[in-house]
């Protein structure tokens, strides 16, 4: 019985001893909160290890993330998805970079086309046009590769200017395949001292439409319409 009494007294003393400390802890927090030393100063620190379910700092009565009733899949970090997003961002950055680089030879190809056709018998301008076109095609291929191979994010509905950007790919994509084929046919006919005829005669118009669609695709994600 003496042991039980001793245990009860010890327990009671422990409660009496610890209660003021918990009250002190709250008072301390309040004082810090109410009297900021420097109102303009904002501090940044890395979040605790479990960033998504932080323990209420120094106050067990404060609400926790669990109290808000978020589904567990919404609060759990997903390293695999983050890696996927990082890879996607890297590939789309490369897509953007190569797309911008492609503009230069594309414009040069369009400018050089003025002297490549017509009745001129000089093959130099045609060769320059052909080389510029080939460089454009190669760079375009690399640009397209990064867009096509960029990982998709499941459950994402495409909204905004990116829809136009993607829709225009259905014009400049086939155009970038068709233009050099028609160009090769036209080049061959021209080299044989023939007038460009048949489907090869569409090389110019197809190239212009392709270039315009490509330019519009760049502008669609560069400026807000």
């Amino acid at each position: 019985m003496k042991v039980i009494r001793l245990a009860i007294v010890t327990f009671a003393c422990t409660c009496l001893f610890t209660t003021p400390f918990s009250a002190f802890a709250q008072t301390s927090d309040n004082a810090t909160s109410a009297l900021p030393e420097n109102p303009q100063e904002n501090k940044t620190t890395p979040a605790p290890q479990d960033k998504n379910a932080p323990a209420p700092p120094g106050n067990p009565a404060a609400p926790s993330l669990q109290d808000l009733g978020f589904p567990s899949d919404q609060v759990q970090g997903n390293a695999e998805l983050q890696a996927r997003l990082d890879k996607r961002a890297h590939m789309l950055k490369m897509h953007q970079r190569f797309g911008l680089i492609t503009i230069a030879p594309l414009l040069a190809t369009l400018v050089s086309s003025a002297g490549a056709g017509g009745k001129s018998t000089d093959s130099t301008t045609r060769n320059v046009h052909m080389v510029l076109g080939a460089v454009t095609g190669d760079l375009y291929g690399i640009t397209a590769y990064y867009a096509i191979r960029a990982p998709r994010v499941p459950g994402t509905e495409t909204r905004g200017p990116i829809r136009l950007h993607k829709a225009l790919a259905w014009i400049h994509g086939p155009g970038m395949i068709l233009t050099p084929i028609l160009g090769a046919m036209a080049y061959s006919q021209k080299s044989n001292h023939e007038k460009v005829h048949g489907i090869a005669a569409w090389h110019g118009p197809v190239g212009i439409v392709t270039g315009a669609a490509f330019g519009a695709a760049v502008l669609s994600v560069s400026f807000k319409f």
């Binding site: 009250a23 909160s33 200017p161």
Partner: protein, 179 residues
Amino acid sequence: MHKKILLALLLLALPLLAATDSQWVLEQSTLAYHISHPLHESQGVSHAARGKGTCHDGQCDFLIAVPVKSFDSGDSNRDIHMLQVTRGAQFPIVTVRTRLPESSSASAPIHADLEIQFAGQTAQYKQIPFQLVIQGKQTLISGTIPATLSDFKIAPPTLLALPVKNEMPIKVEMTWHPQ
């Protein structure tokens, strides 16, 4: 003997008696971040925040949380990119903690110290002004948090090699009601 046991139980129950006095629940909210780029001005809006406040000894502790992916800028590509640069898959929830005196439940401007956890970082904002309006049982709080990308160590996204501005003000409109 019984008296002693009773005393012990009473002492044990003391912290419980001093527990929560009242609670607040976030009814609806609009949180909007604003980003500036030389070619674009964009705004991402979320209505998915959840919040709770518990009052104790004249002080109310509030927690507001919102999923990063719930912010909608009207451009899915931008939203996914935002999710990537803010590491929103790894740290999917933004949390805001603040403590206000219970007496500030009258219509008036208030100043709150905020602790925001976002993108794996914690930033503290001191004395942020908010407008508080009481409408019946509802309390409307509105204001702007002057957040920046560097506060959370977020590398500014670029478009055409031009980075967005560091400033990322977050407009807050919340309606709370007592539970």
